[in-house]
């Protein structure tokens, strides 16, 4: 089974379409979405409908903090994100809001955990940006492998049998063997708002048979997506980010 893992779509239709087409060309059997379908981008309704259609076809999706903010409180977000959330609320239908409200915080499958931010207190939306945060997440779950997003920068943390945590920045297109001797915490890059300096959309493919994880980079029409963000009257910084990948 080959599973496409997609996180942080952020209402970016151009980026998600490109990633889905890429995944299909890679003969992916299944899709798992790791949250933040809305916020920042100009196509929140389309993004929610697309994820919902994939769930109908057997996909898994978990809740992200921006999804939660749209249907609940946005007090944890910064000013720019709050402006985008307020605009997003005007774009979604009640059905689309209900869909977001019904999403689980995490999902398990075999020895893997899928969660938006961290296995540690998923609703606290912790940022896994160092070994300490990775350690909190490892300690909070029995699952051998955890997949999350939220940070928008690809990174893999691994925990050895002797308790040492190290991290590695994955190289796109290289299959990384998730060896059974250690535990793995894979931070996916963002589909719809990359922040590692590379504007191309980021997702990953998990090959269950070979137990490898391959990060992918998919160039897409970032200029088109950025133009829509501007046209929607969203803060200019959100469109510039798409072009710079930062």
């Amino acid at each position: 089974m080959r599973i496409a893992l997609l996180s942080d779509v952020h209402a970016n239709r151009e980026a998600l379409s490109a990633c889905l087409a890429h995944a299909q060309a890679c003969s992916v059997d299944r899709y798992i979405f790791l949250g933040d379908y809305v916020g920042y981008g100009a196509d929140p309704g389309w993004a929610v409908d697309t994820v919902a259609a994939h769930i109908e076809a057997g996909a898994i999706a978990v809740l992200g903090n921006h999804d939660a903010a749209v249907v609940g409180s946005d007090s944890d977000l910064n000013d720019t994100a709050r402006v985008a959330i307020a605009w997003t609320r005007t774009q979604l239908t009640p059905q689309q809001c209900d869909f977001l409200r019904a999403l689980p915080l995490s999902a398990k499958q075999a020895d893997s955990l899928f969660v938006h931010a961290s296995a540690w207190a998923p609703e606290a939306w912790d940022y896994v940006t160092d070994a300490r945060a990775a350690s909190r997440s490892f300690d909070a779950t029995q699952q051998r492998t955890t997949f999350c997003g939220h940070v928008h920068v690809p990174e893999i943390y691994h925990l050895s049998g002797t308790g040492k945590i190290a991290s590695f920045t994955p190289i796109a297109g290289t299959a990384i063997p998730l060896t059974p001797q250690r535990r793995w915490l894979a931070i996916l890059g963002a589909v719809g708002q990359p922040r590692d300096g590379i504007p191309a959309a980021s997702y990953a493919i998990l090959d269950e048979e070979r137990t490898t994880l391959t990060y992918m980079r998919v160039p897409y029409d970032a200029a088109g997506a950025a133009a829509k963000v501007r046209a929607a009257g969203l803060p200019a910084v959100l469109s510039l980010r798409l072009l710079a990948g930062r």
Partner: protein, 467 residues
């Protein structure tokens, strides 16, 4: 499943255990079979019992990550890997003899050492191209296949440049084998393919003199002596060691990786063409350099290591072997000029490139003596002089350029053979102006383009008049 307590006839992960092989103490090795049509297979199961060396446990995991990514005749073919109660790897059982079996016969003749060295260097280049550095090259990890090629085994200390380095993360100290470990490896750099060239230099030294250049040091402190103390030159131990071989060995054993050959392919090239080796003071030395110059080298290495680390990933790209196939026929001067320009541009783009200039004498099958022209002059040496004249203004150091003239009935086939045997990365070849006859017969350059194992640049002199 445990490494111990297994019996012949047991089935592990679908593989039937046939016979336990006493290959190394760190793991159990079994000859296994699955289906009748499989090649002979080897299963490796690490010893995980209490008291096992943790570095071997992590090393086994590293090998599980790296071996499936390698392919080609110079590595055992990966078959399967996994973890039941205990991890295992199944790979091709290489039919051949470990180089360790040669140790009783040392020293070996220089020519035999060079030929073996060229095979090992070719194998190293193959894994380096796949972005893997072995980092534990030694006789017991080199197998001479019955087919003649060298295969490298045991990737437990190796580094794949696109995967996490789980060994370095777990163990802060140097990881390697005492007599063979490279200076930069001792200082914690595990990203330089030239560390394998150093280890190959130790092997060549050992095989030609019968002695290891740095002895068999037992602790990390003793390991470090090679950072500031040079080895005794091979010729001091064995007067009949040729200067060219000493040149290559001592260059491989340079403390600073930058002083060694840029790639294993370039070393393989020199080992295959002894008469072309540029001999410096290194090759002529009969005793060690003074301690002071050695210390200077070591300080230099310490200072430049951080910058070294950043440039490693591009090492192979920067150091191609470029082959210029030159047509020296009268009337082709404009083509010769255009070729020189093209080669100069390629050399500018690759700071550590190696240039080999070749010319093929088309041999008529009826010729009685191809080496003598009608004036009785030696055609071969004349062509060589012409090649050197052609190249004299190119920006290459003396050790970076070689010249070859050979005769062959089919020049294109000869050029292609040469490119394959010498790991050529880029062929530059001239194409003569088009003519009806050439269109009909097909040109040498078009055959080279069609069958070359690498990039080919075809150069044509600009036409001065409409044809």
């Amino acid at each position: 499943m445990a490494a111990r307590g297994l019996q012949p006839g047991d089935v592990v992960a679908g593989f039937r255990l046939e016979e336990e092989l006493p290959l190394a103490a760190t793991a159990a090795f079994w000859r296994v079979s699955r289906a009748a049509d499989d090649p002979p297979l080897l299963m490796k199961i690490p010893r995980l019992e209490h008291g096992a060396n943790p570095i071997n446990i992590v090393g086994f995991e590293a090998e599980q990550m790296i071996l499936p990514k390698l392919s080609g005749p110079h590595v055992p073919r990966f078959m399967a890997s996994g973890s039941l109660d205990s991890p295992y790897i199944v790979m091709e059982l290489i039919v051949g003899e470990s180089l360790r079996a040669q140790l009783a016969k040392l020293p070996l003749p220089a020519e035999a050492v060079a030929s073996l060295g060229a095979k090992i260097a070719s194998a190293l280049h193959d894994i380096h191209r796949q972005e893997v550095i072995h980092l534990d090259l030694k006789p017991s990890n080199i197998i001479l296949r019955t087919t003649g090629e060298v295969a490298l085994i045991d990737f437990g200390f190796s580094r794949h440049l696109r995967l996490p380095d789980i060994l370095a993360e777990e163990f802060p100290g140097p990881i390697g084998t005492g007599p063979y470990i490279a200076p930069e490896q001792l200082l914690g750099n595990r990203t330089d393919p030239r560390s394998d060239i150093f280890a190959l230099g130790v092997i060549l030294y050992f095989f030609v003199t019968g002695e290891r250049p740095f002895g068999d040091p037992s602790g990390a402190r003793e390991w470090r002596r090679r950072l500031y103390r040079e080895p005794v030159p091979p010729r001091a131990l064995r007067a009949d060691c040729p200067a060219w071989l000493q040149e290559l060995i001592l260059r491989s054993l340079e403390v600073h990786p930058r002083e060694r050959h840029a790639t294993a392919a370039q070393l393989a090239f020199d080992l295959q063409h002894p008469q072309q080796v540029h001999i410096t003071s290194r090759g002529k030395r009969t005793r060690r350099d003074g301690a002071l110059s050695s210390v200077n080298r070591w300080i230099h290495l310490r200072r430049s290591l951080p910058s070294l680390r950043q440039t490693i990933a591009r090492q192979l790209e920067r150091s191609p072997i470029i082959m210029a196939a030159i047509d020296l026929s009268p009337g082709q001067e404009a083509l010769g000029d255009a070729m020189r320009l093209a080669v100069r541009e390629i050399l500018h783009a690759h700071s550590d490139a190696r240039l080999t200039c070749v010319n093929v004498l088309r041999l008529s099958r009826l010729a009685i003596d191809p080496w003598e022209d009608e004036q009785g002059r030696n055609l071969h040496s004349r062509r060589l002089a012409e090649l050197q004249y052609w190249a004299k203004e190119l920006p290459v150091p003396a050790h970076g350029i070689t010249f070859h003239v050979f005769e062959a009935p089919n020049p294109a086939a000869a050029l292609l053979d040469y490119a394959r045997n010498n790991h050529v990365d880029h062929i530059v070849i001239g194409a003569r102006a088009s003519s009806p006859l050439r269109r009909y017969l097909g040109s040498i350059s078009s055959q080279v383009v069609a069958e070359a194992p690498c990039t080919v640049t075809v150069v044509r002199a600009t036409e001065t008049a409409a044809s």
